[in-house]
């Protein structure tokens, strides 16, 4: 089909503007970060080229190690809890049990709340005299009270609980969309063949959810790597740096310590990790869509 000149101009404009935006606001800062990561630079001082020194520092920085470990803990636990939780809720809601619309809304409601507000709500509940400890005390379970976000051994897990509370609804919606697309006749055929709920779920429904699962995993991995706001509102990486993740450590080095070169090196590592996962995702997702 021949394009008229006017269409060509429209096409160039429509593609060009997003391209210009991506180049100047995504690609350029990313390249800039890579460059700054080779500098020793406080933001105002004369930048000094130090090659890969910032990356060498990262290797023996115990704080970076803590942050990376926390990111992995976050990825695994937050990922599993929210994916399994979201799937279970989606399966239950999809069965349209009595009051399913209410449950769907109830689980989806936290999504309307930003991570920042989620953080404030849970911080308030997790306070030493907050409603969670007060609740345990009122039923006599004083052994279950804890310094939820003040104890470095459990603070990260407390934040993960708060984050999962919000994420489950999001995952539920993604799986619900997938469940709607599962071929009804296949399920019926399996039922006629005598397959119970468990076997139908395992052999028909879950395999059909494959594409949704890929999306869910990609979303969860990316959400885990970029997690910042909820940690920042609840603990700011504390107590004593026990809940630092890569993004909070990056912020602290850049804007707390004016260590922009080192912070950029952390940013580059986050970028590489994210890119790695995104590429795996694309390799899995694109051929299927192209087919």
């Amino acid at each position: 089909m021949r394009l008229f000149l006017r269409d060509r101009i429209a096409a160039i404009l429509m593609l060009g503007v997003p391209l210009a935006l991506v180049l100047s606001w995504v690609m350029w800062p990313a390249l800039q970060s890579i460059y700054i990561s080779t500098l020793r630079w406080s933001g105002t001082s004369q930048p000094q080229f130090v090659g890969l020194e910032n990356y060498e520092r990262i290797i023996d920085d115990p704080m970076f190690q803590t942050a990376l470990e926390n990111n992995i803990k976050w990825l695994v636990v937050f990922g599993l809890l929210s994916i399994v939780g979201g799937l279970l809720v989606a399966l239950v809601v999809h069965e349209q049990i009595a009051g399913w619309k209410f449950y769907r809304s109830a689980f989806f409601a936290p999504i309307a709340i930003s991570f920042v507000v989620t953080g404030f709500i849970w911080k308030w509940m997790f306070a030493p005299t907050g409603v969670i400890n007060a609740g345990f005390e009122s039923i006599g379970a004083t052994g279950l009270t804890a310094n939820w976000i003040g104890d470095p051994d459990i603070a990260l897990w407390s934040i993960i609980i708060a984050a999962t509370w919000r994420q489950i609804g999001y995952i539920m919606i993604l799986f619900l969309a997938g469940l709607k697309a599962v071929d009804y006749f296949t399920i019926e055929a399996a039922t006629v063949d005598g397959a119970g709920y468990g076997r139908r779920l395992w052999y028909v429904v879950l395999p059909a959810l494959g594409p949704s699962t890929t999306t869910v995993i990609a979303v969860t991995v990316i959400d885990s790597l970029r997690t910042f706001d909820i940690i920042w509102t609840m603990t700011q990486g504390g107590p004593f740096n026990s809940t630092q993740v890569l993004s909070t450590l990056m912020w602290r080095e850049a804007f707390g310590n004016y260590n922009l070169g080192y912070a950029s090196a952390i940013a580059v590592i986050i970028l590489l990790l994210t890119l790695g996962f995104v590429i795996i995702y694309l390799l899995r997702a694109i051929p299927k869509e192209a087919r």
């Binding site: 933001g43 115990p62 306070a127 470095p152 504390g238 107590p239 310590n257 080192y262």
Partner: protein, 441 residues
């Protein structure tokens, strides 16, 4: 018809043009950021027409920006008395902290910025990024104390900072609580520990504190213990990296720290500093080590007093911490003459009366006595009688060294001596690394 379509086009084009301008300028800023940042020589404002060439002040506060911000009143008074123009921009202190390098390297920097005295600002001065205001000091700031002048002077002997107000740190208590329970103000460390023990057996939290998201509060304990045990010279040398953070002197500090640690609120790390203070105001906690900035609620009113951190080694003169706030101008300001006029105004009693909030003390020595409450007078006398004054750990060293200290001290308060070795070794290695890589500023 054609006319309307042209109109539509032009309204469509404008946002796009604006967008391109933003893109171009953001690329420019990014480009500049990594280019050479040698401070250009200040340009003259062309006479002193500060009406047309109004200045901008970059202000910050610790709470929410409000119409009651004292800076707005100062600006209004300045405009009224001189006819000159001032614009005030206020942000949260953490935003300010993160943006400060950007303000200083911007092509169009604010003309005057509010910040903290001490090493935090000295680093910018040593790098030549702050305006030399020695002439302002010589002409207009003669009523400010010599000690604060020294604090505002760089290694070349030029002044770069106008301190406007400062406050003291001390152990605060509620006199009514002390009277009801028959407590008396401790003067020595042993009396202090005995009082804490008594408070605990009376069902009080002896020492209130909250460090969640504000671990710097914990570092005040280290500062005072180190000043009382090892003295100010060692304290400053340690902050310059001339001693080990896990050496015998610092261990001696933590021996005493361990004596009071069991009496500090065990929930310290789970509550914010305001929550820690609330327990103190509610008389759930008996004492708290805090600065004069503490927001005293109306319900407490005058029922609040303080005592100096108790003496540990009588041979060491009493030193107090008195963080000082003030103002400076970037070397690159396009309007140095008008900025200097405003800085001179900030040294006057009229300006300081507005800037000095709560328990802050004005830096001008001629500031009228009648303006101060009894509490502030007592705080001022405490500082006047001190053998030496320090700012605060981070203000006396650097942000990064401060962060390392904050984590160590907050952790010791929460977890106590069982993790001491780990705390000190981590603190030592991270501090030494910071000094090696960043220098001291």
């Amino acid at each position: 018809m054609s006319r309307t379509s042209t109109d539509t086009v032009s309204t469509r084009v404008k946002p796009l043009a604006g967008l391109l301008a933003v893109l171009a300028s953001s690329a420019l800023v990014a480009g500049c950021a990594t280019a050479s940042t040698d401070a250009p020589a200040p340009t003259t404002a062309g006479g002193t027409d500060c009406v047309a060439n109004g200045i901008s002040v970059q202000n910050w506060n610790v709470g929410e920006a409000g119409a009651d911000d004292p800076m707005l009143a100062v600006a209004a008074l300045y405009e009224e008395t001189t006819g000159n123009t001032v614009t005030v921009n206020t942000v949260n202190v953490e935003v300010f902290r993160s943006q400060l390098p950007t303000y200083l390297t911007s092509n169009n920097p604010p003309d005057v910025l509010k910040w903290l005295a001490g090493s935090t600002t000295a680093g910018f001065a040593e790098a030549g990024q702050l305006l030399d205001i020695s002439d302002v000091w010589a002409e207009s700031l003669g009523d400010l104390p010599e000690g604060l002048k020294a604090l505002s002077t760089d290694t070349r002997g030029a002044q770069y900072f106008v301190p406007t107000n400062y406050y003291w740190w001390a152990i605060f208590y509620r006199p009514s609580l002390f009277a009801d329970n028959g407590y008396s103000v401790p003067e020595t460390w042993d009396e202090f520990i005995a009082l804490a023990e008594q408070m605990e057996s009376d069902g009080l939290i002896p020492v209130g504190i909250g460090t969640s998201g504000a671990e710097w509060v914990a570092t005040s304990w280290f500062d005072y213990l180190n000043l009382r045990i090892n003295g100010p010279d060692f304290h400053r040398a340690l902050l310059r990296g001339e001693h080990d953070w896990n050496g015998p002197e610092v261990r001696a500090v933590f021996e005493k720290f361990a004596e009071i640690q069991p009496y500090i609120d065990p929930n310290s790390s789970g509550q914010e500093w305001q929550a820690g203070l609330e327990k103190f105001f509610n008389k759930q906690a008996g004492m708290t080590l805090i600065g004069g900035f503490l927001p005293v609620p109306d319900s407490v009113g005058d029922d609040i007093d303080f005592f100096s951190f108790p003496t540990i080694d009588p041979s060491i003169p009493r030193v107090e911490e008195a963080p000082t706030d003030g103002f400076f101008s970037p070397a690159t300001t396009s309007n140095p003459e008008c900025a200097k006029q405003f800085l001179a105004f900030l040294g006057t009693n009229e300006a300081q009366a507005l800037l000095r909030q709560g328990a802050n003390i004005a830096t001008n020595l001629t500031f009228p006595e009648s303006e101060y409450s009894d509490l502030v007078k007592k705080g001022r006398d405490l500082l006047a009688a001190a053998a030496d004054i320090t700012q605060f750990y981070d203000r006396d060293s650097s942000q990064a060294l401060g962060n390392a200290a904050n984590a160590a001290n907050a952790r010791f308060i929460a977890q106590g001596p069982r993790v001491l070795d780990q705390i000190l070794n981590e603190w030592d290695s991270s501090s030494k690394k910071i000094i090696e890589e960043q220098g001291l500023d």
